[in-house]
Amino acid sequence: MSLLTVDQIQYNGGTALTLPTATPGAGDMLQTNGSGVLSWRDRLQKVTNAAGSVTYTTPANIQAGKSLGTAGGNTMGWYSAGGDPMKIGSHIGWRLADKADFNAIITTYDGNESASANQGVGTMNLKIPDSVNASDVSSYYMEAYNLSAQNGNWYLNVKPIDASNNTIVNGSQIAHLTQNLNNSGNYNYYTGATSHIKINNGASYTSMQNGSVNTQYGDFNRLQTQSSSMSFRDLNFQLQHYNAKYDFDGVVEANGFYSGNATNNFATSTVYQGRGDQGNFQMATNYAAGFQLEMGNGGSFKKGTVCLYYCLNDGA
């Protein structure tokens, strides 16, 4: 075997490279110090892109549980992987539980639009994910936008339900105090007890009046020439619910149009809670896992968006 003993190797006209004198370990690589002195190294602290035009320097240390990323100046660093912006320590903010997103032609409430027109649903169940225990939910917030229905009058019933879609309310034991304001200058309040949370214009539970919805095209992308069969008389509401097991309570604000005149709009604020005159009774049988929205007075939802958010107890 030929052996060339030499301290330096130099390409003709190039830089002289000094061979290392140390013994390499398995896998050791030759690296230069930039001054032509070669040495052995088992791992690199610098890597380049394929073109060799950018050099990245590895992080200064290891941070368990973090993912590799880039910092300024082509230096790599460790960063939190993913993370939950809704969480600070053990406190967890609102998360989306369920959503109904539909546009005139639905047969289900899970956000999927059906292919056939003139369909709708009379009830929608919005619930927490199956992986979440209702007992871990401290409160709910539900926001509904632009709910529309078929021709005629209707109102909205909201029923707290368990994970099996059964109502959890014992009889007609949800007490309401509804304050109503409307564009005719009237203001009034109403009290009553039902088995569900009522959303309407308050006094005497009169109905929301609604026009038709364009069931062929929906109301989000309809054409101007189709204006004869559409409605802008929508119902919006915001509901806050404290998820106590036996005596939940909450408040719901709603805007809509009341029957009698298509241009009459109203705003209500309703406080609901366990009835105070029933002694040691239990209004509910379990924690609510969600809510059923029911089209009061019959009929079907045709358009709208409903988002149900939930807030977990700390540590859940």
């Binding site: 390499p24 370990g25 791992r43 602290q45 549980g65 993912s67 705003a267």
Partner: protein, 316 residues
């Protein structure tokens, strides 16, 4: 070209290892490294270490779309990238921030603030935005008095959504809804307005005493006038129905000019299909909003945010 044919190289220093040159080439990107401590050189893959010398070890296998997360010893594992905590288990999305403007400092003293849906989401399918919510907090204008805030619906490019011209110059139908205080003229119905949808029924209170034009986020000056003005900041939440014939429900609290009383009013605006802007008559709906005040007033402080609920499947 000269070529030196040799099997081994060796530094002349006595203990230097004999380096045996590889007999085969490596693959693209491989580096020259030692296969053992006998100085046999081979081509192989490079490995990394942190600045403190701890090895960063890559896993033997990694599925697609994973991120590398390290343990305390620098051993990387390929883990699933964090899912969006804003989505539920059905990968549905709740309300998301579309646009935001903080009125303060150099971003203050502006006459109009336009917030629009980001263009990347809705170039071809407008109904990807189901609904929008405009939140305005701590809003105050420059010095002066007697002003009313109003909003204008926009196209995505910032132009007015309604034409405001034609046989009916009034682009929207405005109906005053409700307010928190019964006035003799509570039964008020404003038939139409051109583009502008006023958020308050009466003028907002603001003292013109010094100091004025205060940025209430950053000012450290104390005076009774400033305190009055800061307290008179108004807040509002507007729900914008993203249909071709949009409706707007505005819920606003403010201190009125006339008697410096706390007011809360809700107003409903119904879009006029016949007054869509030129070229905007086929299946379109508003994609933004502009916030202004009458009487040539500029905004001096406040925060405005536009949220949207996307149609399922549009964003992840």
């Amino acid at each position: 070209m000269s070529i030196l044919v040799v099997n081994s190289l060796k530094n002349s220093t006595g203990s230097s290892p004999t380096l045996t040159w590889p007999t085969t080439d490596g693959t693209d990107g491989q580096v020259l490294q030692s296969s053992n401590n006998a100085g046999n050189l081979i081509f192989g893959g490079a490995q990394l270490e942190a600045g403190n010398g701890t090895n960063i070890t890559f896993p033997a296998s990694a599925a697609d779309d994973r991120t590398f997360v390290t343990d305390a010893n620098g051993a990387l594992t390929a883990t699933a990238a964090g899912t969006n905590p804003m989505n539920n288990e059905e990968n549905q999305q709740g309300a998301r921030l579309l646009d935001r403007y903080v009125i303060s400092g150099s971003a203050g003293n502006v006459a109009a603030i336009s917030l629009t849906v980001p263009t990347g989401y809705t170039n071809t399918d407008l109904n990807t935005i189901r609904t929008m919510k405009l939140v305005m907090r701590g809003m105050q204008t420059t010095s002066g008095s007697n002003y009313r805030p109003y909003i204008t619906l926009l196209e995505q490019d910032g132009t007015n959504f309604f034409s405001g011209s034609g046989s009916n110059p009034n682009a929207t139908w405005a109906r005053f809804g409700t307010e928190g205080r019964n006035k003799n003229n509570a039964n008020i119905l404003v038939n139409t307005s051109s583009q502008a949808s006023y958020l308050t029924r009466e003028n907002v209170y603001r003292t013109s005493g010094s100091p004025d034009n205060e940025d209430f986020f950053s000012s450290t000056t104390t005076s009774s006038d400033q305190a009055y003005n800061a307290a008179a900041c108004w807040n509002s939440v507007c729900y914008i129905n993203c249909t071709t014939s949009p409706s707007v429900i505005a819920k606003t609290d403010y201190i009125n000019q006339a008697d410096q009383a706390n007011y809360y009013n809700e107003q409903v605006y119904l879009g006029n299909m016949g007054q869509l802007a030129s070229g905007n008559n086929t299946g379109r709906h508003p994609m933004g909003v502009k916030i202004q005040a009458n009487n040539n007033r500029n905004w001096i402080s406040g925060v405005v945010e536009l949220y949207g609920v996307f149609k399922d499947g549009v964003v992840t």
